[in-house]
């Protein structure tokens, strides 16, 4: 009897473990193509790395991004950023970016061509799973795992079972990757894919932009997944064309690959969707939440800080004004996106509408700075988590949405389907 075929995830793990095949539940040691850490997880990763007493395994395969509390929000954060900077200098790390040149890690690394199909990436940040959009295996780990991998160039995994997410149909205007992933999390729950791979497939994939795919893979972890991964197609190759010069070997799932479960989503049936406090699984159509008044709208983050996201927000805000009771904060994901958004007039649109435009930072998403909520305040945000106290006071609330919904809500002052504004 022939053994069952393998999923994309299994193939990438097998290749990096030097094995012909792997099966779910197997514990394997894998070579890593890139290790990531940021200004919060990097400094303790460096402490663990130094305990091992070896040099870095490859100075070109470590990425250090000061993005969470930078530009430094306080003295302690400045010390953490300094520790990252000094380590990068000391070990001559190729991929370190100073503010003014950096971006939010999961927007920046693909843009810099550091991620290619078939590669294996670990990062001391849970949203490392974003890179699965490019057909890579990418997973979040803690700072000890990252520190150890910086010395050894490898890490261990338990091979996960996979959930096949079959996408059909075409999304209508104003339906984006965010609405797809929020819908999926609403269907399977915040632990629906715990310890599992989410493998996206089906004819619907072709109608999703790379921005959509990054947003979807980014939030795989909000369903508890180890990784989220997309097939490699013409859109992926077009994205990579001017970014990745090295050779790479894309993988495809075997037709007889085994999945623990199949979930089907008709993209044509989706509407702009919002996740209500305090879990990403609490989803509802935006049009049913008109009664929810907001104090703040945040557009940006590793989930939705890409050029298409800003274009979408700008199309809603063009010629309109932010509601008098709302503070709107727009955060381009990288300096390159910021510059391009400026060239295209989006930044001028945001400023004329009465929004704040910030340098790239994770700041408000995790309640760091640059838009913290007071007790009783409510935000609509294009970020990825709406846990209690996530963006500030424990008695504040976060509603998650796409950039179009956040922009429309910023105009009306309450949660709005973009179609309410774009009549």
């Amino acid at each position: 009897m022939n053994p069952m075929g393998m999923t994309m995830t299994e193939k990438i793990l097998a290749r990096h473990a030097g094995l012909e095949r792997v099966v779910p539940g197997q514990l394997i040691k894998c070579r890593v193509d890139l290790v990531l850490a940021n200004d919060i997880t990097g400094p303790p990763a460096i402490v663990e790395f130094e305990k091992i007493g070896r040099p870095v395994f490859d100075r070109h395969k470590i990425a250090l991004v000061p993005d969470h509390f930078t530009p430094n929000k306080d003295i302690k954060s400045a010390e953490q950023a300094k520790s990252l900077r000094e380590f990068a200098k000391q070990h001559d790390i190729t991929h370190y970016w100073e503010i003014g040149r950096m971006g939010i890690e999961h927007v920046l690394l693909p843009e810099e061509g550091l991620i290619a199909p078939g590669e294996l990436i670990i990062g001391a940040d849970s949203h490392t799973c974003t890179y699965g959009a490019l057909g890579a295996f990418a997973s979040g780990v803690g700072h000890t795992d990252a520190g150890a991998a910086m010395a050894t160039g490898d890490t261990w995994f338990k091979v996960p079972t996979a959930i096949k997410v079959e996408l059909t149909g075409k999304p209508s205007r104003w339906v984006t990757g965010k609405d797809v992933i929020l819908t999926l999390i609403g269907m399977i729950g915040v632990e629906g894919a715990r310890y599992q791979a989410l493998e996206f497939t089906g004819p619907g994939v072709a109608s999703l932009t790379m921005t959509d795919r990054f947003t979807i893979a980014n939030m795989a972890v909000e369903a508890g997944a180890k990784n989220g991964i997309f097939p490699v197609d013409g859109a992926t190759e077009a994205y990579l064309a001017d970014k990745v010069k090295r050779r790479y070997a894309a993988v495809a799932a075997d037709p007889d690959a085994e999945y623990a479960q199949t979930v089907t989503i008709d993209l044509g049936g989706l509407t702009p969707t919002v996740a209500m406090p305090h879990l990403p699984e609490n989803v509802k159509p935006a049009s049913e939440l008109n009664h929810i008044a907001i104090n703040q709208a945040v557009i940006g983050s590793c989930t939705n800080g890409r050029l298409d996201d800003l274009a979408q927000a700008a199309s809603v805000l063009a010629g309109r004004k932010i509601h008098p009771d709302v503070r709107a904060i727009v955060i381009p994901g990288t300096q390159q996106i910021y510059a391009e958004a400026m060239a295209r007039g989006y930044i001028a649109t945001f400023i004329r509408a009465g929004a704040v435009v910030s340098t790239p930072t994770c700041g408000p998403c995790l309640g760091g700075y640059m838009g913290i909520l007071a007790a009783g305040e409510r935000a609509i945000s294009t970020t990825n988590r709406n846990f209690r106290g996530r963006m500030g006071h424990v008695d504040s609330e976060v509603y998650l949405s796409s950039p179009a919904v956040a922009a429309a809500s910023a105009v009306t002052g309450h949660i709005s389907d973009p179609r309410e504004v774009m009549k």
């Binding site: 997880t41 091992i52 001391a124 803690g142 879990l279 846990f387």
Partner: protein
Amino acid sequence: MILEGNVWRYGDNVDTDVIIPARYLNTADPQALAAHCMEDLDPTFAGKVRPGDIIVAGRNFGCGSSREHAPLAIKASGVTCVIADGFARIFYRNGINIGLPLVELGAAVSEIKNGDRIRIDLGGGTIENLASGKKFAIQPLPGFIQDIAKAGGLINYVKGEKA
């Protein structure tokens, strides 16, 4: 290893943002983190937790951020073990890596209440609720994970390997 202590009982989906809010992540010093452990879920915890206490929670404990500051804060607060119906995967990995015992008990966590005194025999694979007298079996860890635990965490394990 035998662990005996009093239970702090929490519910489902205890996320790493409530275990240690990001506003305190401008340091990775375990004692500084412990001072704010569980703050946004239970503001009384950090002041009242005693060395040897045990956290027992529901499903998906430690979901959200990869911040290892979360298990570090719990460990530095004196908690010797976390028992849950189930754990989020990054938190589980981090717990193993820093040497904080984590026990996946499944639905039987409903048999343990806040303030109960329990005894955990990690080697023998049992948990006894001394308040009710009920006993539960623990699934053993896979061998490789036991090796990391025995080494006292991942860094010691890696140091023991050939470079």
